[in-house]
């Protein structure tokens, strides 16, 4: 994986000093809260419902065991012994003191990590496929491109005060595991007819108040123009994105209002101009970065497991993913224990996952946008030992992509923007579907919960989505059906009037039952919904 050189290190070190200085000026009263807020946000520091919250970047979701150990140490030393993995492959801590923030950033910098641009109206952490470099179906490893974009976007002088936040995802397979088309820019690395690699640009997707699926604006950008083209996309947005209304400021609104064609025309014009400005990095830089992402030394070994332990066999079936080397798999560590808090991990669990990565996965871990952790390269013959260790630590729940594998944002338990709590719903739903035994029969069913319209819990993209709303001071929940953030991207639709906290759990079960009674051979929930439409679900829910 990528390792800092003296330049990268000097930049994060300088950032630590800059933030220490800014925090001190805030404490001294030289900066007002209004002035300080965007500065602290660009270092991932929020003021949340209970305290400061710090969001640490995990670039393209990749980290090594030393970094995971450091994240655990931060949870113990500065927080309350746990952290929360987010839908943008980051981790956040809920109980941070402003006085400690500089020290935490220094601890992060010591392991080549940072919190740079994890919030604010700037280009955020670049996300990617959590199986990158391991998946059997990928064209190339997308992470070198993500790393190049990370460097380009870090401290970009022109784009620190965009109309709104800006999220970029990079993938390199036709299977989309990163919700690519629901990003401000989604990039798919592709091959053209001449066999050359390039970048296909999708611009103007997003969730939030007005969810949109990004249109493709250019099918092929040559790799030696990747940064220049990105810069053109951003400049047009910086100049013409709406600034009069926060809710209309994302690039999706600009692309929508101009029309994809006109936006593309403006980008192409800016691009033609910028090509003459010499802003593209030398192509050798991409080559340098790629050397950090070469395959580890895979060795041939067993290709199947001993299935005599049914619990183990179930976990293997559910939580492992096909690897490009047939003696390996990618193993998913579920952070969704039944009745637990989705995405939370204790310091001890983080230390354990780090150790297991070292023992069984070439020292590498990934954060999934579904708030789980991946060990990308596990030898099939090591799977039983790995599973045993995970199971003992409560990390062996076999529920990947099942109804219990719920994405839930922090909601009103932690988030100051929330309308309603998300986590208690996730807890009740996972308990309900384990108790009634339906999780098994339901098969793949992606349930996603957001505590407000900002959609951090990706509810628009859930096969079943839940959105918390405030109904005269009482929590209320809308039910949505039919979303997908995979390559068949679709936006979920609201079923009708909302439900109470217990009512929504019943409603999810009702919707699941409609599927179970109507499904045809091999259909997932989403397939059945797409075939039969909303009506039968509405009928069952509201009769």
């Amino acid at each position: 994986m990528y390792a800092y050189d003296k330049y990268d290190q000097a930049m994060v070190d300088a950032r630590v000093e800059e933030f220490r200085d800014q925090a001190q000026r805030r404490l001294d009263g030289k900066l007002s809260e209004d002035q300080f807020k965007p500065l602290r946000l660009m270092n991932g520091l929020y003021l949340q419902l209970h305290a400061y919250m710090l969001r640490v970047a995990v670039p393209y979701g990749t980290l090594n065991s030393r970094q995971m150990h450091a994240l655990a140490d931060i949870a113990d030393k500065y927080d309350r012994g746990y952290g929360h993995f987010t839908t943008r492959q980051n981790i956040q801590y809920n109980w941070i003191k402003l006085e400690d923030a500089g020290d935490i950033l220094a601890d992060l910098a010591a392991v080549e990590m940072h919190a740079i641009q994890t919030s604010g109206n700037c280009i955020r952490n670049i996300s990617s496929d959590h199986f990158a470099g391991a998946a059997q179906d990928e064209l190339v490893d997308p992470r070198p491109y993500a790393e190049l974009l990370r460097q380009w976007s870090s401290f970009h002088p022109e784009f620190m005060y965009l109309p709104r936040k800006f999220k970029i995802a990079v993938i390199a397979s036709d299977t989309d595991r990163a919700a690519m088309r629901l990003h401000d820019i989604g990039i798919q690395i592709v091959k053209n007819d001449a066999g050359e690699l390039g970048a296909s640009f999708y611009v103007g997707g997003g969730m939030g108040r007005t969810p949109m699926i990004a249109p493709n604006i250019r099918e092929f950008v040559p790799l030696d123009q990747l940064i220049t083209y990105s810069e053109a996309c951003l400049r047009v947005y910086n100049r013409y994105g709406r600034r009069d209304n926060k809710y209309k400021a994302r690039i999706k609104i600009l692309v929508h209002e101009l029309g994809a064609e006109e936006y593309t025309r403006q980008v192409e014009e800016e691009f033609a101009h910028l090509l003459g400005q010499g802003i593209e990095p030398p192509i050798a830089e991409l080559g340098r970065i790629k050397t950090f992402f070469t395959d580890p030394e895979f060795a041939d070994g067993a290709k199947t497991v001993d299935r005599s332990d049914p619990d183990f066999a179930l976990w293997v079936d559910r939580n492992t993913h096909r690897h490009k080397h047939d003696s390996y798999v990618s193993a998913v560590i579920s952070l969704k224990p039944v009745g637990g808090i989705p995405g939370d991990a204790t310091a001890e669990q983080m230390h354990l996952m780090a150790q297991l990565a070292r023992d069984y996965s070439f020292d590498e871990l990934r954060v999934m946008h579904t708030q789980n952790i991946v060990l990308p390269h596990v030898r099939i013959e090591d799977l039983h030992a790995l599973w045993t260790a995970l199971d003992e630590a409560g990390l062996g729940t076999p529920n990947l992509d099942r109804i219990g594998d719920i994405i839930a944002c922090p909601g009103l338990d932690y988030c100051s923007l929330a309308n309603a709590r998300s986590i208690p719903l996730a807890q009740k739903i996972s308990q309900r579907f384990t108790a009634n035994g339906k999780e098994d029969t339901l098969g793949e069913l992606k349930l996603k919960i957001s505590g407000c319209i900002n959609a951090c819990g990706h509810h628009h993209a859930g096969h079943i989505g839940i959105l918390g709303v405030d109904k005269k001071g009482v929590e209320n929940y809308q039910l949505l059906l039919g979303g997908s953030e995979a390559e068949d991207t679709s936006l979920a639709k609201i079923t009708g009037p909302g439900f109470s906290e217990d009512g929504i759990v019943d409603a999810v079960e009702t919707a699941a039952d409609v599927y179970l009674s109507q499904r045809e051979d091999g259909e997932r929930f989403l397939d059945t919904y797409r075939r039969i439409g909303m009506a039968p679900f509405k009928e069952a829910l509201y009769g």
Binding site: L39, W152, S154, F155, N238
Partner: protein, 141 residues
């Protein structure tokens, strides 16, 4: 009278800047003021006669002025580009990278903070309107 921070040796233009609209009509002006919604490219045909472009920041969070400055520098403009308005010390480093070479903030800046801000970054990642060499070029020299 607010302090003007200037990083140029030439004599400052001593008369008021005009709006982009009146500039285009009033052919003898040599100082013009850009508001966030103005298109800096409207000035490109006239750059030879301009000595000062003021870029107004009514609020520091409106980042359009950064693009305006870079566009002018990319077009070859070498006169003064002055950031005026809600210009704060934590933003001037990036402004300088985008081609600003003078600052006229509403509230005076602490000189020590200015110095710290402008010396903050040992290197830069990207090409911009200043003369600094990006890290990715340093790596492959």
């Amino acid at each position: 009278m607010v302090d003007i921070l200037r990083f140029r040796d030439d004599e400052a233009v001593d008369h008021a800047a005009v709006t982009v609209d009146s500039f285009v009509e009033q052919t003898n002006a040599n100082a013009v003021r850009i508001e966030p919604s103005d298109d800096a490219r409207d000035l490109i045909p006239h750059l030879a006669q301009i000595h000062l472009v003021e870029v107004n920041f009514p609020v520091f969070g409106d980042g359009r002025g950064y693009s305006a400055a870079r566009i002018l520098r990319e077009a070859g403009y070498t006169g003064e580009i002055r950031a005026v308005g809600d210009v704060l010390v934590d933003q001037i480093g990036n402004m300088k990278r985008c081609g600003f070479d003078a600052f006229e903030p509403d509230a005076p800046l602490d000189p020590a903070d200015v110095k710290a801000a402008l010396n903050r970054w040992p290197e830069v990642y990207q090409e911009s309107a200043d003369s600094r060499t990006p890290i990715w070029n340093l790596r492959h020299e």
